[in-house]
Symmetry: C2
Subunit: 199 residues, 2 copies
């Protein structure tokens, strides 16, 4: 059986296969936004991608593996480690990156959707941990380590609690309260978070 | 047509009606935990409650109105306003209450589920705002007002940003990271949050 024809016209068979894969990935993303994980179906994804169901099942065994793939790709972009030379600068830089990342639909819509599923499916909990937390926890651990080395933070500063203090307020505002950030918000939050870390 | 028989045996018709209502409310709660909002159906609720679908539709027009009713009841419990006489004490008391409330399944599972739906259904966004935010924002506004009056906070302290700093880290830890609170966590967070508020 030949690959169903995707919407774009490819130059050759290899391109065709990649185009189908990309069309499916785009369709998953659009379906997640439109109907959410629970209601999403392989049929709906295939229809939106303009391919047959077999084309989807040949690549991914279930809608869960499709979504984990998407979240994994988002996580793989990685979180660059700020190295501004001061705790103030590093916290400010981490907040800038987090405020950008948390406005991405993967973070503001897809991950909260999956967090809810995670209570019922442990595989999802692990994928989210990898996508949302591991990167940020690693970055925060390094920021704390360097600040301790510079004498800016006490030696017993817990990196996980530091991450709560820095990223928690921003997550709450962007994902829960969902009001636009007022002018100067990230600056004020950076100052407040550094004071909290030093308390 | 008579009311379908609920699982418990009631003493009379009035009791019967209330029992059915309660059985349906319990069933909604259990269904939300088991399958989530998107997959939940009136059929499933009726089956779990041991009543007919008509018994549900006689009381609520849709699964949305059923869930909004449940969230509304949670919100109506209200958030007591701490009045300890100091900013430290009030923040500590608010965090104690929030850490209790955020561990309730309505806050840790049902509301995040509905937050995801809220992006697609504005009615849900309004109900969550009322259930999760209005109460806490009101309490925080009062804590800030009294702290300003005592000279503990600057006059231009924004209550919404204050709430981000106090509740955000706890929400992130309990609802996103989902690891148990380490010993002394609420105390450390209260101290850090007060330092953040004063920064």
């Amino acid at each position: 059986m030949t690959e169903p024809t995707p919407r774009r016209t490819p130059a050759g068979a290899a391109v065709l296969r990649e185009d189908v894969t990309e069309a499916i990935r785009d369709a998953v993303f659009e379906e997640l936004a439109a109907v959410g994980f629970a209601r999403m179906s392989i049929e709906g994804i295939a229809r939106r991608a303009g391919v047959g169901k077999t084309a989807v099942y040949r690549r991914w065994k279930s809608k869960l593996s499709l979504v984990l793939d998407l979240v994994g790709a988002f996580a793989a972009q990685g979180v660059p480690v700020p190295a501004t030379g001061s705790l103030d600068g590093d916290v400010r830089a981490l907040l800038e990156m987090a405020s950008y990342a948390l406005r991405h639909p993967i973070a503001s819509q897809v991950i909260p959707d999956l967090l809810v599923e995670a209570a019922r499916q442990p595989e999802i909990a692990d994928a989210i941990r990898a996508a949302l937390l591991d990167g940020q926890q690693g970055v925060m651990a390094r920021i704390v380590r360097e600040a301790v080395a510079r004498g800016e933070l006490p030696e017993d500063t817990d990196p996980a609690e530091a991450l709560d203090l820095v990223v928690g307020p921003l997550y709450w505002r962007l994902v829960v309260v969902r009001t636009p950030l007022p002018e100067g918000y990230v600056d004020r939050l950076a100052r407040a978070a550094v004071a909290a870390l030093r308390a």
